[in-house]
Amino acid sequence: MATVAAKTLGFLPRPTSKTGFWSWVTTVDHKRIGIMYLITAFLMFLVGGTEAWAIRIQLIRPDNDFVSAQTFNALFTMHATTMIFMAIMPLLAGFMNFLLPLQIGARDVAFPRLNAFSYWSYLFGAIFLNSSWFWLSEKGVPDTGWFSYANLTSLKFSGGLGPDFWTVGILLLGTGTLVSGFNFIVTILNMRAPGMTLMKMPIFTWTTFITSIMIIFAFPAITVALLMLLFDRQFAANFFNVESGASVVFWQHLFWTFGHPEVYILILPAMGIISEVLPSFSRKTLFGYNVMVISTAAIGFMGFTVWSHHMFAVGMGPIVNTVFGITTMAISIPTGVKIFNWLSTMWGGQVKFTTAMLFAVGFIMLFTIGGLSGFMHALPASDAQQTDTYFIVAHIHYVLIGGSIFAIMSGLYYWFPKMFGRMLDEKLGQWNFWVMFVGFNLFAFPFHFLGLMGMPRRIYTYSSNMGWDFWNLVSTIGVFVLAAGITLFLVNFGKTMSKKMDAPADPWDARSLEWTIPSPPPEHNFDKVPTVAALDDFWYQKYPDEHHKDLVRPATPVDAHGIHMPGASWMPMFLGLFNTVAGVGIMMHSTVVLAIGLVGTFLAIVGWAFEGDGGYHIEVEGGH
């Protein structure tokens, strides 16, 4: 291994340490960044869960006064914002980061430093947004709901800092997400192993690809909406000022143009995860791989054509409502196709109910329930009855917990050995699943009843003559059971991490390239760049069958001077930090802080551009 001497005009030399705290701060290794995403996002998941717990305690009985109405508004706003932007998306981003290069046989993502910058934007954005709980100002916490409709967010109706925190925070988080989107698309299009055509990519890589495309087209819309809101609040502009003739519905259109693709951004990678888990534990190839890919792409495209179904109550008129009702029904077709594909994958297979498999099967069941209630919202007439009731709350929790979170749990059990070199305890895992499964249904299924009984979402209390007491009590009990299930995972995590690393390279007898290398993988991932001749190539190397016995693989490319590794860097962290400082400056209306942030940002970009290559080479035995 030789460090390349690079002439540098940067401010800080490229760090070379491989261990210790600062090596994690300066890392550009996609696997480390993936793990940092997962751990940070899981902590944020616990923060959002705590907020959910407080909401449920408040609603456990009628006329409760556990929290004030104001605090309740802040709780549900921050609960949703945290879960969507700071827990589920980054949990999925963690999987994408860790797995994407491994699945396509690459040694890193296309832009390792930008990848690190995405993480730091996320971390500092999350800290920034959550610091609103501790900001010494009245009504400092965002309290206008996760879609913050205009003109509730105007200075007139929200005089505090809440909407400013929300706006700047989501801009920071969105920056990181957008950059990840570009990075992943380029990585997939440009850096696949020889022989891996697009239709030979693992399905999780496909869902990452489509999700990234959705990100780069959906996030600019919310960016513009947030900037408009920022202009309204900071410079008295008129984008959403009704008194000067502006339209509040304009915000809704911009928000949901982003917001609906966003929910598919939250579910497509989750579908990708279980599409990897189900074949592994059914010992069958994924049923209808091509159809699965087409369905994913169709969902990605159609996800941009349905946003107004969030706005049926606005009064857009029968024609618009009908059009969006039809597009919404249409999008459930590719989704339904996927469900049948998963069932067919298991059909006739040698199904083995490991914890990962249980969570995957749980996903199919719970996501189907959530999908069916979603389908009901496609009918404008039916939606008019359900909108803003707990029926909607039931739907989003079934698709986001029963869907995304169950898939994430499945993925954690499945890829844990690859990430940490240890197998999670299966016995604890089975308990983990069943307690979560029972707890979740106890918690969220009553929402259907409450919604049909007319309980509006976001009310901080209710009187006992409404008939909602029983199901609210059941739901709150459910939240404790669900929390117990998640605690079991934490226990399992702690217990497993104290064991020694002994996981084999391929513990599940699986199919994709990440299982061909040791657990955990070496920093350069592959000693030799793998070459691929078929979908599930690794499987057919292990078990050649009639159609796959004489596969011709392309020649292995030669690493002429050993394996080139990118150098670590301080700049992604500094860039993320100073961006956030600039955000704080906007919040505080402080020119000094804003100037520090902007100058720091500029210096970080200069340092980034001129710090030199700083890479090094790894010589691997037989790697040539």
Binding site: F111, F182, V186, A236, N241, A246
Partner: protein
């Protein structure tokens, strides 16, 4: 082509699947994303076309003046093309001349915009006047900011060039800068059409 790729990777020649370098591909994707950014702002302008809140309306927009600045911006794109071409042929000095010309024309365009903003504010058409004025200033302002970033980018290329950095092998840096500049131009064509041209058609 292989040489370009080697440059993008420092010194490791790793061919990409598409044959397009990572940097250029990422930049195309960035521009695709920017389309949605400007489309959203444009929609704001279209929605608020008649929301004047008692202030001046569309009749304020002076197509004669803007036609001149638009022409200058279009000519800057021509200069950029010549700059990219020169750098690809290894003519670093010519490339720098054209890049400088591009930056100067971009600066002239910005000068027109500053004058226009100043003039509108004096006519009682400021950022806070009406939804229309807000949409106008934010849309054209963000476009102007993009032009400004483009000028900084061109200047950094010139700085590179003075240090002997604009060799034929590194022409991709100029090319990507050119992509950005052309994109900003194309966006202006749409903005010009929507704000200045279409109202005249009615």
């Amino acid at each position: 082509m292989a040489h370009d790729i080697a440059q993008a990777h420092g010194h490791e020649a790793a061919a990409t699947n598409t044959g397009i370098t990572n940097r250029k591909l990422a930049f195309w994707l960035f521009l695709a994303s920017e389309c949605v950014f400007f489309a959203s702002l444009l929609i704001g302008f279209l929605v608020y076309g008649d929301k004047t809140n008692g202030g001046p309306g569309m009749e304020l927009f002076n197509i004669n003046l803007t036609t001149i600045s638009t022409f200058v911006l279009l000519m800057s794109s021509l200069a950029m093309v010549l700059g990219v071409n020169a750098s690809q042929r290894g003519l670093a000095r010519d490339a720098m001349k054209w890049i400088l010309a591009t930056a100067v024309m971009g600066q002239i365009f910005l000068g027109f915009q500053v004058y226009e903003f100043w003039h509108f504010v004096h006519e009682g058409f400021g950022l806070t006047t009406s939804p229309l004025s807000t949409a106008f200033f934010v849309l054209t302002g963000f476009h102007g900011a993009h032009v400004f970033v483009g000028i900084l980018w061109l200047l950094s290329l010139l700085w590179h060039g003075r240090r002997g950095g604009l060799t034929a092998e590194k022409s991709e840096a100029v090319e990507v800068g050119g992509l950005y500049w052309h994109f900003v131009d194309v966006v202006w064509i749409v903005i010009f059409t929507v704000i200045y041209l279409l109202p005249k058609v009615h």
